[in-house]
């Protein structure tokens, strides 16, 4: 490990460091139309670099995306975590959900935990989530997390984006 990436746990999920084990699932995701909400399709070589980038993000920021793994099945479900690459308006709680994890509240469970990690462990006072204007499922999840739509802007690469503001650290129990 270049830097220690912690492992978190929820009822159904393990949240751990991104690894090469996640590559085929991510490559499948980025070859599919599901990727439209997070910048569109990517080739295998781009996905490999994207995975490496998420690990490097941890090294540079001291936090980053966790890989989400379902305890019962061992299935890779996607990513969630505190995230702040160059060009972001401020640090966010991000998430991306693989098809295998759809419709069972897994993203909600993971994002709830990683938001708590950002507030309790990293000491953030506030957090946003950046969501593509076209990504309605992600907006639904933001609402379920009690985030509210704050503003919109055009990102040079990702297009029309919405800034959703989570309840402040002190407000959440």
């Amino acid at each position: 490990m270049i830097i220690g990436i912690p492992t978190l746990e929820t009822d159904r999920l393990i949240l751990r460091a991104p690894s090469l084990d996640d590559f085929e699932a991510e490559a499948g995701f980025f070859a599919s139309p599901r990727s439209a909400g997070v910048g569109g399709t990517q080739t295998r070589d781009q996905v490999w670099r994207y995975l490496a980038f998420h690990i490097g993000h941890w090294a540079f920021r001291g936090y980053g995306m966790f890989a989400i793994v379902e305890k019962s099945s061992g299935i890779y479900c996607g990513r969630s975590g505190p995230y702040f690459p160059e060009g972001w308006p401020e640090p966010e709680i991000g998430w991306t959900v693989m098809q295998a994890a759809e419709g069972r509240g897994i993203a909600f469970e993971a994002a709830t935990r990683t938001r708590q990690y950002a507030y309790d462990t990293l000491g953030w006072d506030t957090a946003i989530s950046l969501i593509a204007a076209s990504n309605q499922r992600s907006q639904t999840l933001a609402k379920r997390l009690d985030a509210t739509l704050e503003s919109s802007y055009v990102h040079p690469q990702f297009g029309d984006m919405q800034v959703w503001r989570h309840p402040a650290a002190g407000v959440l129990q």
């Binding site: 490990m1 270049i2 690894s19 090469l20 590559f23 080739t43 295998r44 070589d45 781009q46 996905v47 490999w48 670099r49 994207y50 995975l51 490496a52 980038f53 998420h54 690990i55 490097g56 993000h57 090294a59 540079f60 690459p85 160059e86 060009g87 040079p156 690469q157």
Partner: protein
């Protein structure tokens, strides 16, 4: 894993840091300098590239070092082993900052990285991938004793790429240099 630090007479080869970002942005903004390394990248993408360089170490156990000039502390470039998805075999790669040009710095750094790869990691062969027409890089490969050994289609680099094969450990002297002909 720990990223090792290497030292040469004039250089320190160390892990990538966020302080390398601004000089890397400058490198990637220069269409001529970046042409041999995939072309121009904006700030956001340069940040992601630098992070992916760190992640490469985690995923492969080796990667690019940042080359720092001891005398000035300045970022001089990057050199190291690169084998992301889509590469035919691991390669020794390098980029050079404008301020480090013309003083044999890339040669000194690449030699240190190659020596480490052979002597410490125990590899017995090494290539460098070079985009056709990158004449300064080809000149460095040749100065390192590498010889053209075919080409392959590299999707990520957008076309055919030249493969230069370095001398094997047995073909090098104790300093990592090519044996002088007598």
């Amino acid at each position: 894993m720990q990223i090792p630090t290497l030292e040469t007479q004039r250089l320190t080869l160390r892990e990538n840091r966020l302080s390398d970002f601004e000089p890397l942005v400058e490198f990637y903004a220069d269409p001529i300098r970046s042409a041999g390394f995939g072309g121009v990248l904006n700030r956001n993408d340069a940040w992601r590239w630098l992070a992916s360089s760190i992640g490469h170490w985690q995923l492969r156990g080796y990667g690019f070092w940042t080359v720092e000039e001891k005398a000035t502390g300045l970022f001089a470039g990057m050199v190291g082993l690169w084998s992301p998805e889509g590469w035919r075999e691991p390669e020794l790669g390098w980029i050079l900052a404008a301020n480090a040009e013309g003083r044999g710095i890339a040669y000194e750094a690449a030699l240190a990285a190659r020596t480490y790869t052979y002597d410490v990691m125990g590899w017995d062969t090494l290539t460098s991938n070079i985009i056709p027409g990158t004449t300064r890089s080809i000149a460095l490969a040749e100065r390192l004793g590498a010889k053209l050994d075919g080409s392959y289609h590299n999707d990520h680099m957008g076309g055919e790429i030249l493969v230069y094969r370095h001398p094997s450990p047995a073909e090098l002297d104790n300093d990592g240099n090519v044996e002088a002909y007598t």
